[in-house]
Symmetry: C2
Subunit: 421 residues, 2 copies
């Protein structure tokens, strides 16, 4: 066996080889969830494996989320990863570990992290420019603060869900063109947003900002994110407090959290800076982004390939900014990159941008077209990144199917009660 | 003893009599925190009391937050409150309970709830109009969506802190008048926001919006809130994503959560509706606000008396809106009313409004003036509401003292690294 292959699936050469070793929380039929890793399509039960081979760490894995392990800190993350790498590449461990392997298809995924605060950034310069041209035509192409800081807002942590859960079309107030009063009913502009999420493992105290170069001491790993968005609800509600119910109905993340330590070969130079960097946002000469390739499918047609390498603001800068006012970070905080969009049309990570707000439909392989999502559509995001020796690093898929609104019909719901005036 | 007095402090006639019976989490020297209630300045250890008198409920109170008790649901909340009322008013319980009484001054408060999501609304029409006139002069006096929905945004749950904790002046980027580039450094416009907070006890499932009339099945109680705000940071960062670091450094809540059940005599009619209500926001003929009087002190000078009764959007409407898109609610969710401001100047709940963005100083009793907060200032909010038979219902104080920024001096921090262009 070499360090790029495993006795678990000897012929496997894909992104889920020993170079990746992600963490997820799964349950077997009738059992409590616990922490697993994977090689190929085979999952290893870490609770069982550590009980046998390294019982001092076993309490980190007999858990219903990764938070206990994440809170244990970088030293433990590194020690655990070193063990796993040894176990899955050295056939001497096959006999003792084989009883604790399961086909992925036999396991049920649960949300891998207990989300503390969910912060969504706006880190793609192409996305920010395109959104400004759609939502604020005639105004400057970037918000005034955009070149100076990674702008963001807090989203709803309680509606972060795991890949695979259905997405009922959300209801809300939206204002139709030419109408004076909003109507309440199912969104007609349901959209996706392809993002990369960074999960805080080790938190920080109040009033101790985290400099960008300490990213790896705090960020445990990476997830893929679909930040579902109802554009009609969002555009009516967003002035002046920002996105709220247009986003808060659901945010899907991948089943797997890929350790930041797996991305050693994926760091890359971010785009040229438009403005000098404030000192708390790091040194432009050393700050780095990540070369992650993302693919967006609707009903199995690829509609976009957003390149994370084009993101203007780096993960280190996101973490430095969110703590830069003295706010603490907590285990389970999720920092989303914001929609990933590159300079070319097929690199845009939302239908809003791909279709220019519903004007230019995208074509699917089955001959149909889409402006926004239709009930029944299944959306799949995939992502990977360069690994050592020509391998790829796996990042978990994010899958979600749109199902009809569960609300009463619009005719009924739009009936407003009489004002008491 | 009557139902308005207690053997615990027989002469006591203030707002903390048996008509209130709030919950808080406190620790005695060297002990783990647990849940207490109070009569006057005396606290009753509920963990100990229930162990002796009603052990089936004791596991709810030997906890480091109220969340276990809150999650138990309205039936249990009512059963517990009935017990407590009986115990503190019937002298027959004096002998068994007296060993579990402590002077409040001997206890140390901790954050009473584990905050899930923190949502800050914008429910005062006077506040919304004044803020619009300051931040967006020449534009309509209310944002377009304001009359149609209780607008809000998600804040940072991880920096909600308990009354009494110091408030270091936050750092951030702010743009001085006449300058082209922002500087990073301590806020020069540190402000307060007087709010009422509603704490979700019993959560809800995804896709099951909570109608306003079911408020009392879900809302456990009421806290007083100071949502500290750095106006200079906020005004530079807020377009288009809303408030972020200008708010996320700290939100103080009272030590005590007053049960919603205590407010029976405080419900009142909200202001006349400007627009017909969408059905999901309830019936204007029956929807009710609360008559809560708030007092704002800076260094012991009263600078404002914001009346919660003037709030346009009711707590029932806030809860209906936040779940109206299918989002779930969770035990520990905190819904803030937004700054409470009445129509008269001395009723405004922030310095931004009281001083018209620093133009008209407020005068303190010691002869000094304030535009925004200075290091060393101590801010105290107090609040109460009408109770039965002429009593008042207590709501906990919120106290916070501003301390200097812990960051490096501005001269250093403003040094930007060289752009790589």
């Amino acid at each position: 066996m070499t360090i790029d292959s495993s006795w678990i699936e000897p012929g496997y050469e894909g992104p889920w080889g020993p170079q990746t070793l992600p963490y997820g929380v799964f349950s077997r039929a009738g059992r409590r969830p616990s922490v697993f890793t994977r090689v190929g399509a085979t999952a290893l039960d870490l609770d069982a494996a550590f009980r046998v081979l390294a019982p001092e760490h076993a309490p980190l894995f007999g858990q219903e989320s990764l938070n206990t392990f994440m809170a244990s800190g970088r030293g433990t993350w590194e020690a655990v990863r070193a063990r796993l790498t040894e176990w899955v590449t050295d056939p001497a461990f096959a006999k003792v570990l084989r009883p604790h392997l399961y086909p992925l298809s036999s396991l049920r995924a649960t949300l891998p992290i207990q989300v503390a605060d969910w912060v969504d950034f706006y880190g793609s310069i192409d996305h920010a420019r395109i959104m400004a041209s759609i939502f604020r035509p005639g105004q400057p192409s970037l918000p005034p603060a955009w070149p100076h800081m990674p702008m963001g807002y807090h989203g709803r942590a309680g509606t972060v869900i795991v890949s695979g859960e259905d997405i009922p079309r959300p209801d809300g107030q939206r204002l139709a063109v030419g109408e004076e009063r909003p109507r309440y009913g199912p969104s007609r502009k349901l959209d996706i947003e392809a993002e990369i999420g960074f999960v805080v493992g080790a938190g920080s105290e109040r009033n101790e900002p985290i400099p960008p170069e300490r990213l790896a001491d705090h960020i445990f790993g990476v997830v893929l994110v679909n930040d579902w968005s109802a554009r009609d609800i969002q555009s009516f509600e967003s002035v002046p407090l920002g996105p709220f119910l247009g986003k808060s109905f659901a945010t899907s993340i991948s089943e797997w959290v890929t350790p930041l330590a797996a991305f050693t070969h994926a760091w890359c130079e971010p785009p040229v800076r438009l403005e000098p960097l404030q000192a708390y946002l790091g040194d432009a000469a050393t700050e780095r982004g990540l070369d992650i390739a993302v693919e967006v499918r609707v009903n199995d047609s690829i509609i976009a390939r957003p390149p994370y390498s084009t993101m203007y603001w780096t993960p280190g800068q996101m973490l430095a900014h969110v703590t830069g006012n003295g706010a603490s970070a907590r285990t389970g905080d999720l920092l989303g990159s914001g929609t990933i969009s590159g300079p070319v049309r097929h690199q845009r990570g939302s239908l809003m941008e791909l279709t220019e707000n519903g004007v230019v439909p995208v074509h699917l392989d089955d001959g149909s077209t889409r402006t926004f999502l239709e009930d029944g559509d299944e959306i799949v995001f995939r992502a990977d990144a360069p690994g050592p020796r020509g391998t790829r690093i796996g990042i978990g898929d994010v899958v979600g199917r749109v199902v009809p609104s569960t609300s009463m019909p619009e005719e009924l719901s739009a009936t407003a009660s009489v004002a008491r005036a």
